[in-house]
């Protein structure tokens, strides 16, 4: 039935668009990736149709971004990433509906950028426009000269989408005994459970900066553990994992400025009452609440036509206890080198996340070539190094891939 509705939608859409003079653009993409280990199995074979439907009527506008992921060997995914209406006043804009909301200055790191949850179905390998999901809510933006005040209200909580439990991107479980992982406990949709965020931002000649605060839900669940112990031997025999979402308050900011040829940027946030897993038996469900800092500093520079960018990121747990699973300070760096050739039709890029605590990394060399305007061929690899950590856990998932994309 769902499939039938999808095809009816696709057939009717062009007629509706013509009638209403709606702008239609988007892309079709074929994406095939193969693992370097495991007998070169395909890690992904995906066909994508992504549509942007827009209409502007002076003081009001709409946008919808439906998309289809079609797979040869599993069920097709049809969803709507964004579907919102804009109302433009003299110095106020209001956006209502499902929308992606992106805050912060960091590249590829989520510090104050926590409103739109992440789709981690394919870890961090998808384009960021596809990783960030739309959230249903209302955003009010008030503009005064080069300053903006934004208020966001999300009536319904949307959590991170985790990879399929039987897929290659499901995080490695660290438990030493058999564990039963239950589905996360839903957060009831209610006024009381809504989320609210506020941001002040300013864009000036000297510096751009943002100050933000939020009363949210942590998009990632805390893993509450129930231990099964053999009453005779008192040995741990099993675990039941109950993922639960918790409230999270945070405040932070970001900035970006230039110093001659350098672009300097920073971002940081203080998270109040985030849950961490702990081995300390005094915590019955193996979780403990701690305050937490997450921040970065980054530099960007162009040298010999190479765009070079580096970021140092630290996550620091305050009032740390040694039994907490996560390190007190977890340090990561990101590096980017990119250069265009042949009048910007060929681009070489190398992007890396490097985990300093576990000596692990994700290295992503890519080559883009525009066969003609709006028709792009991309070849790349995702190389995971190390044995543990956010990236090392996927050491078996090194892959090469090709994408062909037609934009219209």
């Amino acid at each position: 039935m769902r499939m039938k509705i999808n095809w009816v939608f696709m057939l009717v859409l062009p007629v509706v668009l013509t009638a209403q003079e709606i702008n239609l653009n988007g892309y079709v993409r074929q994406y095939t990736g193969a693992l370097l280990q495991s007998g070169n199995e395909y890690s992904i074979v995906q066909n994508t149709l992504n549509l942007n439907i827009e209409q502007n009527r002076n003081k009001v506008a709409l946008k919808a971004n439906p998309y289809i992921y079609q797979y040869p060997s599993k069920e097709m995914e049809f969803a709507v990433r964004e579907a919102y209406m804009d109302i433009f006043f003299e110095s106020v804009d209001v956006r209502i509906g499902k929308q992606q909301i992106i805050w912060g200055k960091a590249d590829g790191v989520f510090i104050t950028d926590i409103i739109s949850p992440k789709d981690l179905s394919e870890f961090l390998l998808r384009d960021f426009s596809e990783i960030r999901m739309g959230v249903t809510g209302a955003k009010l933006s008030w503009y005064k000269n080069d300053n903006t005040f934004e208020f966001v209200w999300l009536p319904v909580f949307s959590p991170t989408i985790m990879p399929a439990a039987d897929g290659i991107w499901f995080p490695r479980l660290k438990y030493t005994v058999p564990a039963t992982v239950n589905a996360p406990q839903d957060v009831t949709a209610s006024l009381e459970n809504s989320e609210a965020f506020a941001k002040f931002s300013s864009m000036r000649s000297l510096i751009d900066y943002e100050l933000m605060a939020g009363f949210a839900w942590d998009d990632d669940p805390a893993m509450h553990l129930i231990k099964q112990v053999d009453p005779q031997t008192m040995q741990l025999t099993g675990l039941t994992v109950n993922p639960q979402y918790h409230r999270l308050a945070l405040g932070g900011g970001s900035f970006s400025t230039t110093m001659g040829p350098l672009v300097l940027r920073g971002e940081g946030a203080y998270y109040h009452g985030k849950y961490f897993n702990t081995a300390d038996p005094k915590y019955s469900k193996a979780v403990v609440q701690k305050n937490y800092l997450h921040y970065l500093l980054g530099l960007e520079h162009t040298l010999w036509n190479w765009k070079l960018s580096g970021q140092f990121i630290q996550q620091a747990i305050l009032d740390y206890e040694k039994t907490i699973d996560q390190d007190e300070n977890e340090n990561t760096i990101t590096l980017l080198a990119r250069r265009d050739f042949l009048r910007e039709t060929l681009t070489l890029e190398l992007f890396s996340y490097i985990g300093l605590n576990n000596n692990d990394a994700l290295i992503r060399p890519r080559l883009y070539y525009d066969l003609s305007d709006g028709f792009e061929l991309q070849l790349g690899a995702n190389i995971f190094t190390g044995d543990a950590g956010s990236f090392g856990q996927y050491d078996e998932n090194d892959m090469v891939y090709a994408k062909v994309k037609y934009s219209f």
């Binding site: 506008a61 903006t148 864009m203 039709t345 305007d373 709006g374």
Partner: protein, 262 residues
């Protein structure tokens, strides 16, 4: 003594006067380039820019941009909305350029896929704009005092009487070793410009294809840059030009970069 002084004064008068008179009739190179720089072009302008890139095989790519420029006294603000090709549609670029000598431009780019406005460095003036044959520096207004200028000759080009001015950069690290400009007398439009690379070899030729008077301002509406070493060209055509249209200052903000052309 007085008589000698008077004689010297007369001699000096007769020697210097013709030089001064000649200088008034034949301006020095700096004056010519200053007049080109100062040529009035309105307080604000909006237009649609079509940029056609042709490679050595004759293949063409077209980029279309809607742009708005406003002179706000000490700062000139410009915003560009990319209309095509499809994969850069809705990208926007904003530049604030200052009169203050030594103050770098401020630049931002809005990337719709990331939904982010990023501040970028304006230092890379030698980068080519959107893969064209124009560098960011070629598109900007280079201040005449950055170069030393010499009038090589006067000649007619396309039936226009022109000064031919050679400009040599004071900064040796500049991307061109020299440029030669053909400037139309009395209109102060650069009709043609040759760019020489660091080895002194001819690199590019800029030719103005079309210009006209709009609201009492001389406006260049079509020009072509040819890279003679790589044999590719970029044609730039301005259409739908509106001058002194009263563009509001709030057009040049992050709000508009994100909102695009509505």
């Amino acid at each position: 003594m007085n008589s000698l002084k008077t004689n010297y004064t007369l001699i000096l008068f007769f020697i210097i006067l013709p030089v001064l008179t000649s200088a008034q009739e034949k301006p020095i190179g700096l004056e010519v380039m200053q007049k080109v720089y100062d040529r009035p072009d309105g307080n604000d302008m909006q237009s649609e820019l079509a940029m056609t890139l042709t490679n050595s095989r004759g293949d063409q790519r077209v980029r279309k941009i809607r742009q708005f420029v406003k002179d706000m006294g000490q700062v000139e603000k410009k915003i560009m909305f990319f209309l095509s090709p499809a994969d850069v549609r809705n990208t926007s670029f904003m530049n604030w350029s200052y009169d203050e000598i030594g103050k770098d431009d401020d630049q931002w780019i809005y990337l719709p896929a990331l939904k982010k406005t990023k501040r970028i460095s304006s230092d890379s003036k030698s980068d080519y704009f959107m893969g064209s044959d124009f560098t960011y520096d070629d598109l900007g207004d280079r201040h005449p005092t950055d170069d030393t200028h010499k009038i090589l000759r006067q000649e007619n080009l396309n039936d226009e009487a022109c000064y031919v001015v050679e400009s040599t950069p004071k900064n040796e690290d500049y991307m061109y070793s020299k440029t030669i400009s053909w400037v139309i007398k009395d209109k102060w439009i650069g009709l043609k410009k040759e760019f020489y690379d660091e080895d002194g070899e001819l690199l590019k030729i800029l030719t103005v294809k079309s210009f006209s008077k709009i609201k009492d301002y001389w406006i260049i509406s079509e020009s072509e840059m040819k890279n003679v070493q790589k044999n590719h060209t970029t044609n730039m055509k301005l259409q739908d030009i509106k001058i002194d249209f009263g563009i509001e200052s709030n057009k040049f903000t992050e709000r508009m970069m994100k909102r695009g052309i509505k």
